[in-house]
Point group: C2
Chain length 209, copies 2
DNA sequence: TATATTTGTCACCAAATAGTGACACAGATA
DNA sequence: TATCTGTGTCACTATTTGGTGACAAATATA
């Protein structure tokens, strides 16, 4: 189904307001002003602010987009070197989030517990779960706790990006320097190597590689 | 200098509003209502909302409190088993943040980029840096990248706690179950073991232990 | 042609927001 | 006694917020 001109304008207005003022400032009036249309149309077309936000998140669909990109990498790649795939996926997540300001706002919004996003969260979780399952299939029980190890890294990536968006220093480290980010990538890569080696040594003695 | 009765009431009102409604709802009127005093007193005593918030954060001083507790553990402990100290510090951070709802709100507030908290952030960073330096002194160049490895774990802890405050599932893992948290503790502990072993093997061949 | 329905404009509401000026009353100081 | 200063109350502004009902024009349908 095609979107009306005004609906598109409203959805774009959401992006603009979020980009310019952050998610805290979001409101019916503010968005209507940005879209240069009457706020009553938000109620008519989307049933209110919550409906508009859900429609917005679904349309731009950051979550699925991000995860599907990762999934593709996982699925396409030959299962030969799973370790490298995981590294790629994690570093891609870092790069993607770091560059995508709108997605950062969305993540913080999500953390702040806005009720509108419960619905979105379920969708997001599905995408995430699909990726996890795909990974697990490949791992084939090799690395039982992989899921956890990876999740910890993803959480770290998210937090560091969100935090350093506002502040240069985190935990005594200066993230305003690009070398720090290179270092971080190396650390992530190292961590993957570590749990891969430790775990695979324990669980399957010797591997093909 | 002693605090006036009304000033105390105002500071406590901030805590209550944050606890009950989260940081997004904070405002002059809302706080004055909670403290049952006139909002004009906020302007008189603190120069406005920002001043009040800064005073609040300084008084309750979560950051320094948390970090000083950690520092004490690091300083008191004999340097014999540094690895265990780091584990303790990290697990303590997890436990502390998980239990302290007010601190969670503060962290999210911080992430959201409220301008009032730039000042606080500098104080916080000092405490964090002190701990890092203490650690580095003990490490004595043994583990060059320790700082980074630890920072990644801390970031992960923060994100997971903040996220699961709102949602049960993160990345396909169900954090509503207490076993999951036990597992997480184990994973963190494992990670510390990993980078300790890998790094110390590389950098100093054989260790006392 | 006549009748609905969609699409949008406008005026209004009650409530909440941040912020200010005036004033009343206390206790301390001259 | 008279004055000054800290403390608090009250009333008022202007703006913004979310939300609703009435109405005009355009479009589609009969």
């Amino acid at each position: 189904m095609e979107l009306k001109e005004t609906e598109k304008r409203l959805l774009e207005a959401v992006s603009k307001v979020v980009e310019e003022e952050g998610f805290t400032k979001i409101g019916i009036n503010r968005i209507a002003r940005q879209a240069q249309c009457d706020k009553v149309l938000i109620y008519r077309y989307f049933g209110g602010l919550d409906g508009l936000l859900v429609a917005w998140a679904k349309r731009y669909d950051f979550y699925s987009f991000a995860y599907s990109e990762f999934s593709n990498q996982v699925i396409q790649a030959k299962s030969s070197n799973l370790r490298e795939i995981i590294k790629k996926v994690l570093l891609k997540q870092l790069e993607y989030l770091k560059e995508n300001q709108l997605m950062q706002e969305l993540y913080i919004w999500e953390l702040s517990g806005n009720s509108s996003f419960r619905v979105i969260q379920i969708e997001r979780e599905k995408s995430g779960h699909k990726l996890q399952q795909e990974l697990e299939k490949r791992l084939n029980g090799q690395c039982v706790d992989c899921k956890f190890y990876i999740t910890v890294i993803i959480a770290a990536i998210n937090y560091i990006v969100l935090f350093t968006r506002q502040y240069n220093m985190f935990n005594g480290i200066d993230f305003s320097q690009s070398e720090t980010w290179n270092k971080l990538e190396k650390i992530i890569s190292d961590y993957v190597d570590m749990f891969f080696e430790v775990k695979s040594n324990v669980n399957i003695k010797s591997n093909k590689q």
